[in-house]
Structures are given as structure tokens and as C-alpha cells.
Symmetry: C2
Subunit: 562 residues, 2 copies
């Protein structure tokens, strides 16, 4: 687009990480995939962060060092022998690299630590269970020996959900426990082992005729940004939401039943479509983040796969209030919900216009003519899914609501740009991190009546930090409210400075009507805030359930603040 | 319709029950409302039950006796004084009539007992708390003194949910605790005290502009058959479903947050539209049937009230398989869900045709011509709700699916007949009971793949009983399955015979892939089956939560099988 020859382009690092290096652990996604910021976005970052080309000359903290075998395991050799007896030699490791790899997620804090080659909070031994029987034996052994036990699904936690401050065992679920147990076309359900990865899961369903011997094609309807690198079980135990959740529901809505192995016994919940037999154990286990037991299998609802009916849309609104009204009206109108719906605040909108190369172009001129000014205008994008006639009508009604709120239809182009980056944008974080530019996100759910308060409180706090970009959007919709997703970009390298800044944002969320987490779960990051957030009496309920399942406190000890 | 002059019509009892009589307790609904079976239905009953007109000459077991004050309370006078100090003299009673009244629901077993003037499982004292503070003090006192404590909402339990086998206190919630706490139009929520009755709740929402100072009108979307005589809190703690649940959701979906007073403390859950902060306390409390604490207030989702968009439809299908396929296809098609959807088995269909006066008429002839034969044909009825264009399209698509499954459109007439009786049919039960004819119902949820097995097993069991009508329908729909609702009518007066027969049905449900309850809750009736149904490990979870909230086992002791 505007990428003129004379413009400086940093020497972005596009090199596979060295094997066994710190970098090989924190790098997002496929080792040979990279994404560089567009020229527009790069210029925004330089301008907003007050950086010159000079500051993009020399990359820092690349984490290219080999991890080495520097940490001695504290698990007793007899116990190691026992674990080996259960899973076999090749499904067990206790070298530092493996232990670090499977104790680390994808939070900015995880990444800073690895870039600075710090080894903290790692497990003592990594096991790759082959089946439920292996897990039953491991849980039994850990329970008897009081060895902490953690579960690693896809490894995409952004809440320090994989850290093992007390060491112990980490179970890696996606190595072997990734198989289909049963596909049921008449009930529209699939039962899979919890370690099946999102990409494989969706691929199976999309190709059900060939792969599952089914007449029709299906979709799981769950597409978090981590989709390719997260596991089906992980979605359920962290209460994840996909980008199409406004139509398909959150993981919590999509999971029909679960099978667990806990220190005090194993069970599988019923898979009734609904039931009135007291508090539902299926509900009680959702979001348990490995603190109650190990999720070994899930039965998920699946949906008709009909991508040919999908419609994409983009609207520009003159201001933040009008786009909020439009989104709320869509969510409450009862003409059905779009699968994807997102609106951006003015800062994110302006950056998107630059990133997508729209700023200054014909579409931009058209918008300005219609009174949509930079600094105030707000983007709303979305997609409809479902049966053809339903989608057609829904699309028409969404247009009506947007227009009645002064929204201007912008074609599907920005949505197509967004779609292109929806799963690849995380690669860009590594590229920018290489030059000391941090990108992190925090998110919260909120009812409509408190949206503005939450937005202002969090944004003001972030913007008080000098030279910081704060992009905000809402991306999951309910009749009662939505979520706010805050992306902040700043230059920072010191881990303590980062932690103080970031924990401050969490405090602002918690103190201004936001849920501590809408779809990222709690992990170790939000755990210290849980007692205040839920209140002592509600935390007592979680503590009681924890004590029942895990009297020796071995299951992800400290997780959920328990 | 066919009510010819010469036909015998029993002298149906249409008399207000004597005050303070057993009858005044068990009679359904308003004391001056009655409903007699239509001529068609009366003839069906006589024929199927092998009864002659003679057997409808003399009513039996009318329960017209005055209850009298025959049962001495076992609560210690000092405790009575303490309760009086809390709620005031006029909000306390311990005469036998009050105690019997508030310990009795509307199950057939409750009614047989009262008709036979048996006083069993009643509480010792009835309290009408005025506010949360009263309840807090009562719960504290009961906890310290180890006095059993029960909650009475609207009194419509059909599962012996109000019985007090250990005596103690019953709190009546609908006397005072029936007020609006907050209405929030922007979030589309209303917070009410848990004792507000369904009729008043819906009336408030329908007339929100005048009564809640709101711009728009709303609906609660929850219409169980007991709608007029059940409380909003009761819907939540028993996991009820309304007749429009396929669109609006079950009570479990509609409740956003709850406030409880328990023996170990009070709390209000958050009202976020969604949240990923561990297992949700709001979920854990749903369906707790008074075993964990007293529900004092609920925040419910409300919906746009747009009755002018509703469309009713009726289709006749040649057989049970085709109607099932149509309903399943509708539930899985993703063009939106109708609010009401119901299909009947051949026996219920035939009886409906007689009840609605269709049999033998023009519409019947038309159906027979189209191959819809009595004994095989099956009725499907429904209604759409929502925004106008959504409803219009949905209606069109439902028609398409029905036609593709050989369904014939029957106008909206049968649906109108059904609607007329939807809340008044329970009155007919009393009328028939007066001549020893029992009508009872049991219901279960089931996944599509097990529907036929459950249907056959339960129906065969019921039909083995001589001279018994068994009408079955499905009335709540999900992509994964539905519920089956079994209505059985037979002549029986002995309570033990009835119990054996009825518990046998529950066993058949439990043993053939049915949930013990889809929307009636558990009560004392299903409680003994819970351990087998959920399994020991899952019951242990409920027991652990129970123990946490209620270490002295005073909250509805024995409820939920705990």
C-alpha cells in the first residue's frame, strides 16, 4: 500500500528458533511461520510509542540460548520409576527443557521470562498419558504421595495457567489423548478425548462424511484466537469463548457432558439435553482449571456446517455511543444473533483503518464526507451463520439497526482483512517483542449499563502510562451485555515494571463492574483477585468443592485462588 | 359439539370447597373455578377405563371434612416465642390446617392423601417472612437449634417437594416476599424477591410502561402449566421449564443471578452476562431445591414482548417416526426455534382429536383422505415468537420441514383449543378424581437416539396396567434431544397401589435412558432414585456442597436425596 521504497523497514527476524532454545518455547504457533506489522501499523507504533527507526535497529532479548539441563528434578527416583511403570519410558521426561516447555503458556509475562532466560515455576516431571487408565493411576499415585499434578492441554494459556510454583507433575494431554471416542449424528454430538486440538477437531467435523462416516458436514462453532493451538478440553476447563460465540455460544454452552478422574474418584456426567435433577455436576466442573481433577473426555454439541450461507458485514459509526447502541439493539432484537460481532473504540478503529490501508483512500474520503471523523468514528464488523433464509433475514435486519444508528455500510472488505489476520496476528507479537515492544491484552465481561464506566476507567489507567497504545473492542454479545477486550502496546522490558502496570489494569477491571475474566479463565494471574471478586462466601463454596475432590491439595494447587 | 341431550352427564362437583377443609387445600387454582371434561373426552375415559355411567353417579373421597386442629406442634414454646419475635405474631401459625396446607403440593399422591383425609409429613410451624433480614434470623435460629427448615414458593410441586417428614419450619415466600427490587431496561433484567408469583411477574413485565416506568413492554418467557400458581424462585430452585422454553430457554437459562441466605452465610452471585472466573456459583445453586439455603431474590433475563408477531401452527403426520423426524430437523436446522413446539403420540393424538371435537368432522375426513389414520397419526403443534421478520421466516421454514416429512397443515385451530386449556386443564383433574379417576404425569428428558426406547419401555409398562390411558408428548426441544411427558389415567384409589404403580414408571424411565426429571425437579418422589441415577461419585459432590452450606442438615433434610 503506502510502503514506499525509501521507508525504513526493520530487519524483522524470520528465522526458525534454534531447537531446545528458550525462543523455541515462547514463539507462537508453527516454527516457520512469521508475521510482520504492515507499514501502516509500524508507523502507528513508532508515532504513538515515540520511537524512531533507530530503536528498531537491534533486536533484544531474543531468547536464542539453549535451555540446557540446569534444573534438577525434586521428584524421588522411586516415584519416577513408578511413573515410568505407568506411562512407559518414552512418555516421561524430566529434562529442564521439557519441564519448562510444558509449564509455560503464552502470556506476555511468560514470554518476557523466557526472553530473559529465566526458569521459574516449572514442573518436575512431564508425563504423556496414553489413556484414562494411565491418568487414573497417575492421579492415584500423586494423591497418595502428595505430588502436585497439573494438566497441559494446548499450551495457549494467557493467564499463567500452566505455571507450577510447587513443582510436581505436568500431564500433556495432546500427545496421545486426542482421539474421537464417539460421533453421534442423530444427537449432533461428538465425544473426544480432552487433548484433541482445535484445528484437528474442526477439520474432522468439517469433513465428517469422509472422516466420521456421516452424511452431513458439521462445525464445532468454537474459534478462539488460539484455535489452532488450544485443546477442546482446555476450552471447557477455562470457560473459553470463540470468535463466533454470539451465535454458537461459549464453551460452557457447547459442552454437553464431561468425564473426570479426580483424587477421590472418576465419573462421567449425563448427556441429557436438559435435566432437572438438582445442581448439574456438568456445570460444577466447567471452568475448574484442573483444580478438581483431570478432564479426560468431553461430549460437545456440534452444528450444521453451512459456510456457503455466511455473510460478512462492516459498518462505520460516527461515535462510540452509537456503535454501542447498535450492538445492544442487535443483541436484544430477537431476530437471531450474528455469529461474529465486534465493535472497536475510536483508537482501535483508527489503527485498523491504517492497518487495513483504508486511511487516506477513497473509502476514507467517503466516510469523512458522511461525518465519520478519525478520533471519533467506530468500526463494527461481523458475520452471520446458520440456515440460508435465516441468515438472509438476519443480515437485512442488522443493516436496518445499524443504519438507524447512523452506521454507514462499508462493504465486507475490512472484515475480510480482519479474517485474514484472525489466527495469524499472534505471530506479530513475537516480531514486535524482538524490538522491546510489548503487546498484551486483558478482557472482562460487563453488563450494558456499566460498559462506559468500565471502558473509561481501564482506558484512562492505561493511557496514563506514557507512549502507550490502548485499543479496545467488544466481541462477544448477549442480550444483557458484552465483553471489553483491551489491547495495550508499549515499550517495556522490565518484568517487575510490567507486572505492576498489568496488575493495575486487572484492579481497575475488578473495581469498575468488570468480571475478572470473560473468556481467558483465571490462571495464576487473576487468582490473587478471586477472593475479592467473588467474595469470601462464594470462594468458600469453591474451597469446599476443592476439598471434596482433592483433600491433599495436589490438583493444580493455588489455581483459581484455591 | 357432540353433546346430545340424551347422553348422560355426571353431576360434576362445581362448588367452592368448605373453608378449612382438606378439599380447600388440594383443589387446583382459584376456589371458584372448575373445568369438566368435554363430552368427547368423557366418552374416551369411560371406554378406555371400562367404566359405565353408573360409576359416575356417586363421587368419592371428596375431602370435604374440616381439617381440625388435631396435630400438636413439636416445636418448643421458647422457640415459638423466638420465631414470633422475628416475624411478628400475625406471620406465624401452627394450627394443623396451615401446617398441612404449606406442606402439600399438587402431586397425585398429595391429593390422594388429602382426599383420604390423611395428615402426613407436615411441618410444625409456618412462618411468613417479610424480608431478607427475617430470613437471616430464622435460618440462624434453625441452624443453632437444629430445626428443619423448608421453603414454600407457590405450592405447585408435583414431586412431593414440600413434604416435611422431619417436621420443623416452613417459610411461605409468596405472602410478603413478592416485590420488585430493580428493573433494568438497558440490561433487559428484572430483580424480584423469590416469592413473586408467575402471573403477577408476567403482568408486570407485559405492562412495564405503566408499572415499571419503562418505554417498552417485556415478557419473562417462562410459562409452565403451573404458571399462575408457581413462584419465580420456585422455577429456579426446581429447574423448571415453561411451555415456550424451546425459544426462551429453561429457568436455568433465564436466571442471571441469585441471592441466598444459607446456614453458613449469605451471598449474591454476580450478574455478568458471562464470566470465566471458575465454576459459577450461580450454576451451583440452580436446582438446589432448598437444600443449600433460602433463595431470597433472583435477577432474571427478560425479553421483548411482541405478541402481535406470534404465529400458531398445527400439522398432522402419518406416524410417530415422521413427526419425530420433523421435530428433530426443526431443532437442528438453525433457522431459529419456535417458542412452543409439541408433538403427540398416536394415543394422545386420537384423544386430542376427540377432545377438540375434530374426530368425525370435515378436518378428520380430509386427514383420512391424506392417509392420516387414527391409531397411527400424530399431531404436532407450535407457536413462533420473536421479531416480526424472524417469525415470518421461521414459520415458512417449519412448514417446509413438516411438509417434507409428510406433515399436513391443519390450520391453527387445534392449537387454539390447546391454548384455551393450557392453564385450565389442571382443574379437570379434580373433577375426574371426584369419581375415582386418577390422572398423573411423569416426564423425562432424553437424547434423540434413545427416544424410541424410552417411549416404548415406559408406555408398555403403563399399558400393562388394565384399563389405562397413556398419552405421551414431547414439548421442550433442543438440538440434542427433547423430553417425553407421559400422562396416565386410570381408576385407582388405594394409595399403596398407586405408589407401586407410579414408582414403577420412574424405574422404567431411569432404566431406559431417561433423566429422572426434565423440568419437575426431584422432590421426595424422585429422591430415592438419585443415587442410582447420578452414581455415587456425583452424589458425593452434591453431598459435599450440602455439608458445606448446611452442616447440621436442617435445609429441607432428605431433599435431592441428600
Amino acid at each position: 500500500m503506502n510502503n514506499k521504497k525509501q521507508d525504513f523497514i526493520p530487519d524483522w527476524l524470520e528465522k526458525e528458533p534454534t531447537q531446545q532454545s528458550f525462543r523455541s518455547i515462547f514463539k507462537w504457533g508453527a516454527k516457520d511461520c512469521f508475521k510482520n506489522p504492515s507499514h501502516g501499523f509500524f508507523n502507528v507504533i513508532k508515532k504513538e510509542l515515540g520511537l524512531s527507526d533507530n530503536e528498531f535497529q537491534t533486536p533484544v532479548n531474543l531468547g536464542e540460548k539453549i535451555v540446557g539441563n540446569t534444573q534438577k528434578t525434586t521428584i524421588h527416583p522411586t516415584d519416577i520409576q513408578q511413573f515410568e511403570k505407568i506411562v512407559g519410558k518414552k512418555n516421561l521426561s524430566f529434562d529442564t527443557y521439557s519441564r519448562l516447555k510444558y509449564s509455560t503458556g503464552k502470556s506476555m509475562e511468560d514470554i518476557i521470562n523466557l526472553r530473559q532466560e529465566r526458569i521459574e515455576n516449572i514442573c518436575d516431571i512431564v508425563l504423556h498419558p496414553r489413556n484414562k487408565e494411565d491418568i487414573t493411576k497417575i492421579v492415584e499415585l500423586c494423591h497418595i504421595k502428595k505430588i502436585p499434578l497439573h494438566v497441559y492441554g494446548g499450551g495457549s494459556s494467557v493467564t499463567l495457567g500452566l505455571a507450577c510454583p510447587k513443582g510436581g507433575v505436568t500431564l500433556v494431554m495432546n500427545t496421545h489423548m486426542n482421539k474421537v471416542i464417539e460421533f453421534n449424528a442423530i444427537n449432533q454430538t461428538i465425544t473426544v478425548e480432552s487433548g484433541m486440538m482445535g484445528l484437528e477437531y474442526e477439520d474432522l467435523l468439517n469433513h465428517a462424511p469422509g472422516k466420521l462416516n456421516s452424511k452431513n458436514r458439521y462445525t464445532g462453532g468454537h474459534f478462539p484466537q488460539s484455535f489452532e493451538y488450544s485443546s477442546v478440553g482446555g476450552w471447557v476447563v477455562t470457560l473459553g469463548s470463540g470468535q463466533s460465540s454470539s451465535y454458537y455460544g461459549d464453551a460452557s454452552d457447547i459442552v454437553l457432558s464431561q468425564e473426570y478422574v479426580t483424587p477421590t474418584g472418576s465419573f462421567k456426567t449425563h448427556d441429557f439435553p436438559a435435566t432437572a435433577t438438582g445442581p448439574k455436576i456438568n456445570d460444577i466442573m466447567k471452568g475448574s482449571e484442573g483444580c478438581f481433577g483431570v478432564l479426560v473426555a468431553v461430549t460437545m454439541k456440534v452444528f450444521q456446517y453451512q459456510p456457503e450461507t455466511s455473510k460478512e458485514f462492516t459498518f462505520m459509526f460516527p461515535d462510540f455511543e452509537k456503535v454501542q447502541n447498535a450492538a445492544r439493539q442487535i443483541s436484544q432484537a430477537e431476530f437471531g444473533m450474528p455469529s461474529i460481532l465486534r465493535f472497536s473504540d475510536p483508537e482501535e478503529t483508527d489503527i485498523a483503518m491504517k492497518m487495513y490501508g483504508i486511511e487516506g483512500g477513497l473509502l476514507d474520503k467517503f466516510m469523512v464526507l458522511r461525518g465519520m471523523k478519525s478520533g471519533s468514528r467506530c468500526l463494527l464488523m461481523g458475520q452471520t451463520d446458520g440456515e440460508k433464509s435465516f441468515v438472509k433475514n438476519l443480515f437485512k435486519q442488522i443493516k436496518k439497526v445499524c443504519k438507524s444508528n447512523k452506521g454507514v455500510y462499508l462493504t465486507g472488505y475490512p472484515m475480510k482483512k480482519w479474517r485474514k489476520g484472525r489466527f495469524s496476528d499472534p505471530y506479530m507479537r513475537d516480531t514486535l517483542n524482538d524490538f522491546g515492544v510489548l503487546i498484551d491484552t486483558l478482557e472482562a465481561s460487563v453488563t450494558w449499563d456499566h460498559l462506559s464506566e468500565l471502558y473509561s476507567a481501564v482506558r484512562n489507567y492505561i493511557k496514563k502510562h506514557p507512549h502507550t497504545i490502548c485499543m479496545t473492542h467488544a466481541s462477544h454479545f448477549y442480550a444483557q451485555g458484552t465483553n471489553l477486550y483491551f489491547i495495550f502496546i508499549t515499550k517495556m522490558q522490565d518484568i517487575d515494571e510490567f507486572r505492576i502496570f498489568q496488575r493495575g489494569i486487572i484492579e481497575k477491571i475488578e473495581g469498575n463492574f468488570g468480571s475478572l475474566s470473560h473468556h481467558h479463565g483465571i490462571g495464576r494471574m487473576m487468582a490473587p483477585f478471586m477472593e475479592k471478586h467473588l467474595g469470601e462466601k462464594q470462594m468458600d463454596v469453591l474451597r469446599a468443592i476443592k476439598k471434596h475432590f482433592d483433600p491433599h491439595n495436589i490438583m493444580n494447587p493455588g489455581g483459581l485462588g484455591l
